[in-house]
């Protein structure tokens, strides 16, 4: 009862504050982009020893700052917990949210928000001990599963095992760190969570080599940046900043070669690097700034979560559409 009352109040407040235009002007005036990120998620948004934020989600903030302000460092990061993130966006505390947020109909339709794209296709997966000798989740009938309580992963797991006519015994924990400790202590045969998390949890094991991540993915978790509803220009800027990173990878533009490619005769590259900015309300260097200061999507991926990082997540679904994945951005022209 109390909860529904609070939710009601929250929604009422949200609806009264939706239409707000002029984020672009606000950001330009402030000279800094206020970007909501996670308080700490390895590879997606985490602060290093100098207090600099790094990660795949952080790179989206940096790309928008590069496009709008011409400087990827002009971002004020606002670390948010999962519960605060939408309020912070609604109340104008932040200009955009890039915090491993799953795009769903409910969120898109009822929170007064717009998802500007997908920067990581995640999905629920399984990690098992090598000693179990299992290479597919379908062989896990009767297994004990370590799982974080109160998450959608719990529901997905139930659905998956039911659909495949298998039984399991759930052992629930409160936080992901407790879950991995339970797995390590041998309280369960496998651990389930979003794949991106499984890799960082695996590194937390005292002996990472003893566990493997199974290939099955049993749910869709498209993660992407979010903006307030009602400011289409700003929505476009965030969406196309991300698209520019993905397109740059497709065209082979990198932070290293962008300077020389500016003179390229390739019409696609010419369109990408010049003349399109005013349609978004930006100057013509917007895309070049992104690529030069942040890099293309592939560079960002490898640096933060891929081979250049301890997580070593494969590209999988996040490979370009032309390379077997589903990462696809509409053309810039």
């Amino acid at each position: 009862m109390r909860k529904s009352l609070l939710l009601g109040l929250a929604t009422a407040a949200i609806f009264s504050t939706t239409a707000q235009a002029g984020t672009l002007e606000d950001v330009k005036k402030a000279g800094v982009l206020k970007c909501g990120v996670s308080t700490g998620l390895g590879g997606f948004s985490a602060a290093d020893d100098k207090g600099n934020w790094k990660g795949l989600d952080v790179d989206v903030c940096r790309a928008v700052a590069a496009a709008v302000l011409g400087d990827a460092t002009k971002v004020k990061y606002n670390p948010l917990t999962a519960k605060e993130r939408f309020t912070a966006l609604q109340s104008g505390e932040i200009d955009m949210l890039s915090r491993n947020t799953t795009w769903t109909l409910t969120r898109d339709g009822s929170l007064g928000l717009n998802f500007a794209g997908v920067n990581y296709y995640d999905g629920q997966g399984f990690m098992v001990t090598k000693a179990l000798g299992v290479d597919s989740a379908l062989k896990l009938d009767g297994a004990a599963v370590c799982i974080q309580a109160g998450t959608t992963t719990e529901l997905n797991l139930a659905d998956y095992f039911k659909a495949n006519n298998m039984k399991y015994k759930a052992i629930t924990f409160d936080t992901s760190d407790q879950t991995i400790k339970g797995f390590e202590a041998g309280r369960c045969d496998m651990l389930t969570s979003d794949q991106s998390q499984l890799y960082s949890l695996r590194i937390k094991l005292a002996k990472p080599d003893t566990a493997i991540v199974l290939p099955e993915v049993i749910s869709k978790e498209p993660l992407g940046p979010v903006v307030r509803q009602g400011d289409d220009q700003w929505f476009n800027i965030v969406r196309w900043s991300l698209n520019a990173m993905i397109n740059a990878e497709e065209m082979g533009l990198t932070s290293a070669n962008i300077k020389s490619m500016k003179d390229s005769k390739d019409p696609g590259i010419q369109r990408m690097l010049g003349g399109q900015g005013e349609k978004l309300g930006l100057d013509d260097n917007w895309s070049a700034n992104i690529i030069e200061q942040v890099g293309n999507y592939g560079e960002s991926f490898e640096r933060n979560v891929g081979t250049g990082s301890p997580l070593k997540i494969g590209r999988g679904l996040n490979a370009l559409w032309s390379k077997g994945g589903i990462m696809y951005a509409p053309p810039i022209r």
């Binding site: 308080t39 998620l41 602060a47 290093d48 670390p79 309020t87 109340s91």
Partner: protein, 373 residues
């Protein structure tokens, strides 16, 4: 018959009623049940303590430039604790994201506070009341200006960058100071004979005692911004602090009320008979006695407050625990050293709480006037 005219020298106590053997017998092995428990406890200690010492000290790695030095070639953890995780990021644990070049400012504020407080511990310091007043009233402003900046050419450091032990101490000190102030006022209000003052105090205290702190923090960080006009943002740390102060003053009020009620009626009447006004009788007669009585309760509340500050982790403020859990725990360069971080945080908290409780015991002894019976 044996008669002696001089006092015999004392004989040594029988060997079975003195020394370590006797002590062991009376304290650890007096009866079968105690013997079993002693042996069990000894076994548990034997199983726990040597490995713990080995982990924490003997096999530990104290300094390293990267986490790979705490791991074997194939990525497995080495056996000992990796304290390098703490030493490597010590600055961040202390200051959060506070810019390196400006860290002399919180340091200076801290040193000033310590230097100003030390004279208060000595009996002979002149004008103690003035010094105390300065610390309570003027110093908070000096500290605020120093740490936040923005005035006198100091670069402004947003509260979002404050963190680590520094933030924990700031929240607790501000919380303790204001909670004590408001709590005392509320306690007096609740004992007041004026109906409006009394009912307002009762409502306030019962409301804030009735909600969990975590709810207060969520309200302040998730709900409050929605009720404010568009575009007005209100500093998140200030919101959390106000929540903590309101919450804790209700508890302090009840502790102080306990002290007020313990003062015999004769004291109130004597003060009135002397012709003292309400405020004078309170500040000169009643409160000094009441506060002395409730030192254990107050310190208990303050220790609880100090530990409760870790709850700000759930609204995205980086106190000591949050820095270790969220920031260091998420950095790819140092994944998997959770245990060391938590042990360190526990140690820091224990150190502060333990010294606080020892100090309160010393204070009780010093102020003891032998009126207890």
């Amino acid at each position: 018959m044996y008669v002696t005219d001089k006092i015999l020298p004392e004989l040594p106590a029988p060997s079975n009623s003195k020394g370590i053997v006797h002590w062991l017998k009376t304290n650890l092995f007096n009866g079968p049940i105690n013997t079993i428990f002693t042996l069990l406890a000894a076994f548990v200690l034997y199983k726990v303590i040597p490995p713990a010492i080995e982990w924490a000290f003997i096999d530990a790695i104290w300094f390293a430039d990267s986490s790979s030095e705490c791991k074997l070639a194939n990525g497995d953890r080495k056996d000992g604790a990796c304290w390098a995780f703490i030493t490597n990021r010590f600055d961040q644990i202390m200051y959060g994201f506070y810019p390196e070049a400006e860290r002399w400012r919180p340091n200076l504020a801290g040193i000033m506070l310590v230097l100003l407080t030390i004279p208060l511990f000595f009996e002979k310091t002149p004008k103690k009341a003035w010094l105390g007043g300065f610390i309570l009233v003027i110093f908070p402003f000096i500290a605020f200006v120093l740490i936040r900046g923005g005035y006198f050419g100091l670069e402004q450091v947003d509260t979002g960058k404050w963190g680590g032990l520094m933030l924990t101490l700031i929240i607790s000190l501000v919380g303790i100071l204001f909670a004590l102030l408001f709590g005392t006022i509320l306690a007096l209000g609740r004992r007041s004979s004026m109906p409006i003052v009394k009912s307002l105090s009762v409502v306030f205290i019962e409301f804030w005692r009735g909600v969990p702190l975590i709810t207060v923090l969520f309200m302040s960080s998730v709900m409050l911004p929605l009720f404010l006009p568009e575009g007005t943002t209100f500093d998140k740390l200030a919101r959390a602090m106000i929540g903590i102060i309101l919450f804790q003053s209700a508890y302090v009020a009840e502790v102080v009320r306990g002290g007020l009620q313990a003062i015999p009626k004769g004291q109130y009447e004597a003060a009135a008979a002397m012709g003292l006004s309400y405020w004078k009788s309170m500040f000169l007669i009643i409160l000094p006695q009441a506060m002395k009585l409730v030192i254990p309760g107050l310190v208990n509340t303050f220790i609880a407050l100090f530990k409760d500050t870790t709850l700000v982790l759930i609204i995205g403020l980086f106190d000591l625990l949050a820095i270790i859990e969220n920031v260091l725990g998420a950095d790819n360069a140092w994944l998997g050293f959770h245990t060391e971080g938590l042990v360190f945080a526990a140690f820091v908290f224990w150190m502060f709480c333990f010294s606080l409780s020892r100090y309160s015991m010393a204070l009780e002894r010093k102020l003891d006037t032998g009126h207890r019976n």
